[in-house]
């Protein structure tokens, strides 16, 4: 066998072995971080004890009206006076407001950040701003704003808005950069200003992507909004943190189940709503059946 044949076989072998080597190295790195594997052996027992004694059954009193303030709602809908309802609603409101504000603020920045519309210095400096907003997770922004403006939903809205600008802005400029170039050429030949091109060509052409991203962002903000209450930035996380502190884990699990269900619902609504804006729009309207089953399970 010639030398380069041997080399190519070895090269081929290396390429095939790479995933395996990556896996082995992850095991090695993991092992290096764990001092005592014996800790795992007791964990299953711990889990059962924890579930039996503290978590289960969930304490559904969290959806009963609070003792104070006095509930004035009809008895049938008196769950609207419960901490779960109040917290959840606040989280939804925070997610909604910060998605809308974030979108309004991120769109102009992402129009400046798109490389196909702007000189490089402008697009890269706009990207820098978006990257800075995105570099911290919303919970860190929440801590920051709680320090600045105090506890409550205001700091939650500010935190989530800032994060939304960074995250949504990135999605938006990537959608804009992916748009068809010919409409831009036609606009440039006509002599449209950058402002007119943005409003008459770029936004209409990428509107479907922009809308679908905003819906996704709302869903994302709701999921993350359940956490920011832990640092006092409003929403259901506040109550979770409260009961965690008092070790009332059966109430905590009730909240988690509620959040799980609502996240699932919003997820489904979001997929359903976005399906109108993602593909061509000429496809048959999706049914709820399509939303619940993964796309791969449905014959095209």
């Amino acid at each position: 066998m010639k030398f380069n044949e041997i080399l190519s076989i070895r090269g081929n072998f290396l390429i095939k072995a790479t995933p395996f080597l990556i896996f082995i190295s992850s095991i090695v790195v993991f092992n290096g971080m764990v001092d005592d594997w014996g800790r795992l052996s007791g964990s299953i027992d711990n889990l059962f004890v924890f579930i039996r004694e503290s978590l289960w059954p969930p304490d559904w009193s969290v959806i009963e009206p609070q003792a104070y303030p006095i509930c004035t709602a009809y008895p049938l809908i008196d769950f609207t006076c419960s901490t779960a309802w109040i917290g959840l609603l606040e989280t939804l409101k925070i997610a909604f407001v910060s998605t809308v504000f974030g979108m309004i603020l991120s769109l102009p920045i992402s129009l400046l950040a798109a490389r196909n519309l702007n000189p490089w210095w402008l697009s890269y400096s706009s990207r820098f701003i978006l990257a800075a907003f995105r570099s911290l997770p919303s919970i860190i922004w929440a801590i920051f704003f709680v320090i600045l403006v105090g506890f409550g939903p205001l700091s939650g809205v500010l935190a989530m808005t800032v994060y939304t600008i960074g995250y949504l802005g990135k999605l938006q400029y990537e959608a804009i950069e992916g748009m068809n170039k010919t409409p831009l050429y036609a606009a440039e030949a006509m002599g449209l200003s950058r402002f007119e091109t943005a409003f008459q060509v770029v936004i209409p052409e990428s509107a479907n992507d922009l809308i679908s991203q905003a819906i996704f962002m709302f869903e994302y903000n709701f999921r993350h909004g359940t956490v920011i209450g832990i640092v006092g930035a409003g929403g259901i996380g506040y109550y979770i943190n409260l009961y965690l502190k008092f070790l009332q884990y059966d109430k905590v699990i009730a909240y988690l189940i509620i959040i799980f269900i609502v996240v699932l619902l919003i997820d489904m609504i979001s997929i359903f709503a976005r399906s109108f804006f993602t593909e061509e729009g000429d496809m048959p309207k999706p049914s709820w059946f399509h939303v619940i089953l993964p796309a791969s399970m449905i014959k095209k």
């Binding site: 050429y185 006509m190 000429d282």
Partner: protein, 245 residues
């Protein structure tokens, strides 16, 4: 297209003037050399040549989308790299450049706004722009498709929307790249009549790329054949007797 009107127009300033221009995308590999090309108001000039020779590139160079490698490109008095002001230049790209998800009206209004709204911050359409937009849509036989999104139109219908967008703009120079493709004889006549009528009446110039040489000869005053990287000014039979050099 009478001899008289042409004589008067020839003495006006040309709308397009190219001098010693080399076009292409790489400095080291110019596609076409154009020693001298002038296009006058009211004139229809066709460009023909084999595929990939640089016809589209020539239009894009005149439109200011591609820098000429060398030489000077002048459009309505603006010498490259400076560009003519908004709405002067109309372009029907080979790939149309329509916004697929919006209506025929929206797409045509982009052209109408460019031509009739001089403010650079215009979003609200003027009534004049609306009038020209619906006129242009009518002349392209698309008045029953006003609200239809582009993606639901046939290829030939889309091409007519792109032409309507440029007509609604009422530019001084129309550059149309294969704008008669995908059309049947009758529709082609309708489109050609509308565009020719506009050019002759308004004194705009029309520069078309048309790969079908006989069709190009029948519609144009002059035919430029690009071959081997050189523009050969070719005089069509219709006018050859008058302008014999």
């Amino acid at each position: 297209m009478t001899g008289d009107s042409k004589e008067i127009e020839v003495y006006r300033n040309p709308i397009v003037r190219l001098l010693d221009v080399e076009i292409g995308y790489k400095k080291t590999e110019p596609l076409v050399k154009i020693p001298n090309l002038e296009i006058f108001p009211g004139e229809i000039v066709a460009i023909a040549g084999p595929s990939g020779v640089g016809k589209t590139t020539l239009l894009r160079t005149i439109a200011g989308l591609v820098r000429p490698i060398s030489g000077s490109v002048e459009v309505c008095g603006a010498v490259s790299p400076s560009k003519p002001s908004k709405g002067i230049l109309g372009y029907v790209p080979q790939r149309l450049g329509l916004i697929r998800h919006t209506s025929v009206m929206h797409n045509v209004m982009i052209g109408a706004n460019a031509g009739h709204n001089k403010s650079l911050w215009s979003i609200l359409p003027s009534s004049l722009a609306k009038k020209y937009a619906s006129e242009a849509i009518n002349s392209m036989g698309l008045s029953d498709k006003l609200r239809e999104p582009i993606r639901r139109l046939s290829g030939g219908q889309q091409r007519r929307v792109a032409t309507a967008r440029t007509l609604a703009q009422r530019p001084s120079l129309i550059m149309a790249d294969e704008f008669l493709s995908e059309l049947d004889e009758d529709t082609m006549d309708m489109v050609l009549t509308a565009v020719t009528q506009y050019v002759r009446q308004s004194g705009a110039a029309l520069l078309v790329v048309e790969h079908d040489v006989s069709r190009a000869k029948s519609m144009a005053d002059r035919l430029l054949v690009i071959d081997d990287g050189r523009v050969n000014p070719f005089i069509t039979e219709a006018t050859a007797m008058e302008v014999k050099i």
